[in-house]
Amino acid sequence: MKWRTAFVAVAALALASCAGLGSTIVGGLSGPAAIANKTTLDERALLGLEASYKAARLAMEGAVDAGLVKRPLAVKFRDANKKANAVLVKARTAYDAANAATLDAALDEGAPLVAEIWKLVAEQEKTYGR
């Protein structure tokens, strides 16, 4: 469906902003803009992770609300959602404590978990032939 394709593109964009922002900003700019960006790097990275999780979460919820998710897939969605949320909690806690190393590790962990959710959403599409 078109909305899902748009969602995948948006999630990829959000993930890209999360994963690649550091090198772009730190290496690509100079002067006041670079300083301003360095101080907001944590916010930008975490915003990227939160946005990519939101996209994946709503794709799952959209399928649930449309009545397309039965028990076996619901179990997979629940477990994947729980794992992704646990990493988000870790990232938020690290951000609140200004713990850059833990935040970095959580961001690295988060992207594959969001990708795992997308894989499950694709599985649901295959099952229902959409």
Partner: protein, 75 residues
């Protein structure tokens, strides 16, 4: 062939919610990459998004648990 109108409406409604949310996510991703957005704006958006995700996580888990429980009782 009779169309299950209620089912159709629920699919359309779910798709429209997801589409609207996709626009919001696109805005958030663009904001994260925009060097002109300052820290105050970023923090405000981040906190709003965090709250949405916290509530959305609980809501989704509730819906999934209900499907799982219904499936268990049917088995």
């Amino acid at each position: 062939m009779a169309v299950d109108l209620q089912k159709l409406l629920s699919v359309v409604e779910a798709a429209s919610h997801v589409f609207r949310a996709a626009m919001e996510v696109a805005g958030d991703a663009a904001m994260a990459a925009d060097p002109t957005v300052d820290q105050v704006e970023l923090k405000a958006r981040l906190m709003a998004l965090r709250e949405q995700n916290e509530q959305g996580f609980e809501r989704l888990q509730g819906k999934l648990e209900a499907i799982i429980a219904a499936g268990e009782s049917a088995d």
